[in-house]
Symmetry: C2
């Protein structure tokens, strides 16, 4: 954490030696480029389980399904208790004809055209989520490219560029060009200390000129050179259509608006960097593949867990059939509990004080996602935006375009909102489904004027109103993490928690899978009579 990229010459002697060790070690680790990509190094290799050992798994989301999958391989008798009438949890895809009833009673029916879908939960897989990719391959889930980062998509702010959406590539090129020019100017005119590693001012200036596409006087200008990066007002073409022409640069004041660099940053984070993937046809193909591959796996659907009791011999789970109201119990030697903390805090759970305190300590975020179907792919046809994401500082936060069946005719579904700020999420959560659609249309049409004309239907999922989640993802604060993470991640008697909330990457399927693998390794060690 103290590694320093450069220092002034005066500071160098003081700092030298601090980072060399870490750097050397890191380079050794990265001989094949693998360090840091993922802590996943392959599926667990569990020894043969003691015959007849029973494990009850609460929740048929990805963490629960993976636990069942690997524990069964090792010979455990596994059973899953699931609240819904389907597997997958947030690994969820809404398609034509689906109905969804949220807390408060509003029911939405999905009216999309056949083949169109909307993932209200996870919707993309980063290339460094190796556990997800591993199991997709093992289970035969077909993946295709998911494009998040599209230079031709828009950045929009009501407070910059007079509210007009701008192409990512122009905004980014011009911001970088301007800042590079400014630094070159400071270097040329000022008495700046050169940073360590730079022998000559000319060396730095040459890099600035190259990286910023500056001209021979170190200025960033509209010309055919910068157009190679930022695009043209008249594109290079064929025949007698005239020579290419660069467009005017964007205004610096607008480029510097916080909404703009925030918009740029949102597309540049590690979790959004190419290459990303999505399952062909909908995210729930992952959970479906898990279930399909586990022939004869007992899953009790429509079963609401009301109590988790344990003693030295066994775990006893009480659940209620949500259709008949009938209450039943299931006993097992061990339990993998993947219920979200938001749910777990509401039922009777016989666990250590540390565990119970942890469960109460972690709030859940309240994101809202909206899928909308439009008559045609106007973003492709009119604006040459194929997949990827436009960002805005409005409440909807983004518009993410479909990454499959490019250039096809007929209706298509895009992600019309993914509220990220808490205030915005709560405001959308408080609306009726119809009001959410209206709000998303009003905000979306500031980016795409075709919105109202082409709109067909929409569906929204406000995660705080999802009966089986009561939130979108665990929001671990640093202090909660410090005080409580150990408690939720370690076996508590005969129960071990799993799920993305038991990870450093909540809300991502990778966290769910990795936490599940760690959970079953702990369980297996105890079950085999090894020390904890």
């Amino acid at each position: 954490m103290t590694d320093t990229p450069y220092l002034t010459r005066r500071q160098l002697l003081k700092a030298i030696g601090l980072s060399a060790g870490a750097t050397a070690m890191y380079h050794a680790m990265t001989a094949l480029g693998h360090a840091g990509e993922s802590t996943f190094t392959g599926p667990p290799v569990l020894t043969k389980a003691r015959p007849g050992t029973r494990v009850v798994i609460l929740g048929a989301g990805l963490a629960g399904l993976l636990a069942a999958y690997e524990l069964r391989k090792s010979g455990y008798q596994v059973e899953i208790i699931e609240y819904q009438n389907r597997p997958g949890g947030r690994n969820w895809t809404l398609r034509s004809g689906d109905r969804y009833t949220e807390l408060g009673g509003a029911t939405q029916k999905v009216e999309f055209a056949e083949g169109n879908y909307f993932n209200p939960g996870p919707w993309r897989i980063p290339h460094h989520h190796r556990a997800v990719l591993h199991y997709c391959k093992e289970l035969g889930v077909e993946l295709e490219s998911f494009i998040q980062f599209n230079h031709n998509a828009y950045i929009h702010s009501n407070d910059a560029f007079a509210g007009k959406p701008q192409r990512w590539r122009e905004v980014w090129s011009d911001l970088q060009g301007n800042l590079t020019e400014l630094l070159a100017k400071a270097l040329n005119e000022g008495q700046m200390d050169l940073p360590v590693g730079v022998e000559e001012r000319d060396q730095l200036l040459q890099a600035l000129q190259g990286w910023g596409l500056l001209d021979e006087e170190y200025r960033y200008r509209s010309n055919l050179y910068t157009a190679l990066r930022r695009g043209y007002s008249h594109a290079p073409a064929g025949g007698r259509t005239g020579p290419p022409e660069p467009g005017p640069l964007l205004n610096l004041r607008d480029l510097l608006h916080p909404s703009i660099w925030r918009g740029l940053n949102s597309q540049l984070v590690y979790n959004a960097q190419p290459t990303m993937f999505q399952p062909v046809g909908g995210m729930d193909h992952i959970s479906k593949a898990f279930v399909r591959t586990m022939d004869g796996l007992p899953i009790r659907y429509n079963a609401q867990v009301t109590r988790i009791a344990q003693d030295e011999q066994r775990v006893t789970v009480t659940y209620k059939d949500t259709q008949s109201g009938e209450v039943s119990q299931v006993a097992a030697d061990w339990c993998v509990c993947t219920l979200p903390l938001s749910i777990l805090g509401q039922l009777e759970f016989q666990a250590s004080d540390a565990m119970l305190a942890a469960i109460r300590a972690v709030p859940y975020s309240s994101y809202v996602k909206i899928g909308m179907e439009f008559r045609r792919r106007f973003w492709e046809e009119d604006e040459a935006i194929y997949g990827g994401t436009s960002v805005t500082d409005q409440e909807i936060a983004l518009i993410s375009y479909p990454n499959d069946r490019f250039m096809s005719d007929g209706p298509a579904v895009l992600l019309a909102a993914y509220t990220s700020a808490t205030d915005n999420s709560l405001r959308f959560t408080g609306m009726t489904p119809a009001e959410r659609i209206d709000a998303a249309l009003a905000q979306g049409e500031r980016i795409h004027p075709q919105y109202r004309k082409e709109f067909l239907s929409g569906v929204s999922v406000a995660w705080h109103r999802v009966p089986w989640m009561l939130g979108c993802r665990a929001r671990w604060s640093d202090s909660a993490r410090h005080a409580h993470y150990q408690a939720v991640s370690e076996m508590d008697g005969r129960v071990v928690l799993a799920g993305d909330h038991v990870s450093y990457t909540p809300g991502w399927m990778e966290g769910a899978l990795q936490s599940s693998l760690d959970a079953i390794e702990q369980l297996h060690r105890l079950a085999q009579g090894e020390a904890k």
Copy 2:
């Protein structure tokens, strides 16, 4: 070209008003975001041709095929003369069992596994190449994402980072972070003039802090904040695998090496920006689709044009059957000649002095491309690189990974070299095919140590040795463009040239298609008796 992104306050009064008009016009043009994307606004709508009008088209590459396709729609009698035994020209895909004989006599047989392929010519379609996308859709050519820009691919230089390849995301993050920190330092410490549009130093500093991920003291450091962009040494994971940790930053001296910013720039140009496409299964599906759709189109294959004569009544093309040696002639009312200038300069062509001078004035580039098949996708399995391009300052210039069938087992083909510098291209052109493979392996294994162990076979195309091209693409200098472009792009008697050489974007299929559309519009106007 005189548009200025910012000026000092002193300069402002002088410059004001210069760019406002252009900007306003541009914004009006971009109301739907379309200006500059492409000059293609749809296929030509030609009136009905005079009955019996014959057009001979020289070359069955994309320009020739499109001319045939559109002229036939209008009722022309069209015939194509083609040197090779297949359509497509550089729209070309090599597959298992294909043989290719280059000038000098060396014959290569492609040994790839079934389903694997290599595009020696164009290999990707930018999202703004609207004519290509239009005809792909019209002809039913299935497209899929082509990923060029991959943050997890490498930048490599023998002269930076001790020759070790570095991940794009780390190089780019650290360069940007360092430069932003340096500018913040200059602003904080110096007496810099603020650029126009910036009211307060704090406004600029806040943007720098946000964009550069600088800490509260405006320093770019290794921490969990910058790791959100540059990645981790220990990734956020699940269970008890420990908290995420940032990796050490890269060395500034190496970051500033010209090979590094050149490498970064190469992935940031407009023509390489996401979203890009490729036809599923090989680029030649475009030319094949053109031929398939033109039922009964006469194409004379194996026909080497030796003479193009014209008078006031007709065009007469003399050609030699390359198999039998038999010489024949075909007469037509008009001719669309898509032969490359490199070939056209070597045959007898009855044209204006201006045309003949132009043909002699444009040299062709000599790029070399190498496709290599490896036993397995080690770049995916070992290094989490899925598609995209690694760049190097070695002669091979790049390694581009396959963008289809991610995570599949079995052999896969990558683009192992695409020499861009003239010297390097000529050196590779001078080698035997086997020597080229050896050189590409030696350079490639500096990036991927698995190279030799996993290599199966390779095939190279040195474009100066391609008998029907004698080069890769027209290399128009500014002065040649100024003196000669008009001559090649305008109808010359009864002959009009078409092809990517008659465009401002040579080497791209878009240039070929757009020039062809302009050519047939000229031809049609003359043929209908309208003024030129």
